[in-house]
Amino acid sequence: MVRYLKSQLDDRELIRQVFRQNLPLASKLRDTIWKYASAIREREKCDAIKIMNFCGTHEWTTTYYGLRDLLPPFLDMVAGPGCPVCVVPSYYVDVAVKLAREGIRIYTYGDSLRLRSAKAGCPASLQEVKVDGGDVKVVYSFLDAARDSREQGKESVFFGIGFETTAPSYALTLTRGMVSEDLKFLNVMRLTPPSMKYTVKIHQERGLLPIRGVIAPGHVSTIIGAAEWEFLPRVHGLPTVVAGFEPIDVLMAVAQILLMIKENRPAVKIEYKRLVKWGGNEYAKKLIDEVFERAYAAWRGLGFIPRSGLKLKGEFFEKHDALKHFDVPDLTPKEFIYTHAHHGVPWEHDLPPRCRCGEVIVGIAKPADCPLFMKGCSPLNPWGPCMVSSEGACAIWARYSEMSSVKSEARSGDG
């Protein structure tokens, strides 16, 4: 069988054939989904079935391939907080901008370049600093930044955003001594399971239309393992499917979630079997543990979530932490500042006026509900953080919503 596969087609082509351009399977899955969704709706007499696609890339797949048009209108697909650029607190953008203006070279990924600070002022983003003549350089990976800074020998800072997926690349580069002491790391690493927990909690607390199923992120789970999501069915009774990023992957995940709702047997299932294992990537997990430790972390528009961030530890903190090196106070929960008298900056609501990104990333509001959407805030001139990255829900809707009717008829009674 394996030989067959290899002789037939290039593997990449094969994946594309089976999971992207597979019309017969897509139409069969559509029928299955309609059948189950209608059965559930009939049984429970509910207006809508809300399914959260945690990852920004799932939102991209859903919108780009127009999957919402294939699915029943009462199946409400909402985006989750799975976009690392969207959740970077404005404060860290301020810090990066300040350092860049002081003449320090800033390395950043392309999508965080345009991330705006909530503070009014000029320049508000790294891009604007670059236009002003600041030393900001876009890199493809941390490795490239490490190489470049070694050659330059100049004091520089890497704007380190990302989830668990990105963490091993930082960890590996740091542990193998590929990073010179000139390169500091501005740490904005975040973890996905705590934010998922927060999202479910906020839906419960505000009494919103409950989330009925979760499409868990595929590449994050490749690193942390699908078993990490077991709390969703166990504590919250939510069917969870770890899915890939091709349209057929998402359809299969939705079908499985509906099947589990119908059978009333929530569990974690892996759809993305070609990459995800239950235990994840042990090698990468060990690397993360070597370099990072869990910490209280702030999320843009949401505030602090316990144990939801990664922080450099030990010698790596001493040598490479940008905030420590430049003696900039870190964001600290208010209570800690008051009780322990540490120096620190409290988190404040950090979205521009009228921006609803804080609600968009937890699936309470749709991008089109935002008064700024495609008015003040557009992909050309992103105002809120969700409009910046190619994985931000607003940016995806702005670019591709013409391909499908994003305005789902079954609008949950959300605020």
Partner: protein
Amino acid sequence: MCWGVPAKILSLDGPTALVDFGGVKKEVVVAASGISSGDLVMIHAGMIIGKLSPEDFMENVALYRDIRTQELLDAGLDEKAAKEKATDETDKLLNSLGVRGSIASIEPEVAEPMAVAEKEIFIPSNAFKRSYKVSLSDTDYLQVMHYTNYFRFCERAQQELLEGLGFSYAALIHKFGLFVPTVETSGRILGPVRLDNMIEVAVWVEEVGRKHIKFRNVIKNLTSGKVVAECSTVSVCTDTTLMESMPLPAELAEKLKRYMVETD
């Protein structure tokens, strides 16, 4: 941040590798074990996060068979026929796309039943019930009720229970010359009660001895609808002047029977 691109490995060099994205060549770091040259891997932000193998690929495809099997079962087919038909359909689908393998050998995924919810905590129908509102002074720094206050509310409910029977604390002391101090407690806190929540304390009598009463309490958070604590306390009838235990007045023992329920 799940944007990933598949690529082929051209060569490996310690912690880094040269990969081919289908024309574009790029150096990336290897954050996965068991990678060799020629493998198809997934790249995310300049890093290999995992390997794509043909076996795993087939397993992935087999998932459709599982969904289809379930659907056929619902349609009334028996298990074996449903599985065969679903396998057949999936194979046909694959063949039409140029794959000549079969998924027949791959075992369907067994859904593991999730852990059964915890046993519900029993509250007898004849229990004495009182509702209270949690005020600021009951809570701690996190605005969650401090654990000692669970006992305070239980005690308050017990006091009201006795008062309802005509044995207020004042009456016990001044009329009978006795008091019922609590000498033993045990409890479990199961969930938080926050500021301004309404709680309902249920009290019943589990045991009336010659000299003691065993109360049982369950606290329910009416706001969240969950049982948040259970505890039991033992009070001993004590003579106020001698400070020694004494038999319960027969009258009281008789009246307590109204709230008597024996549980576990």
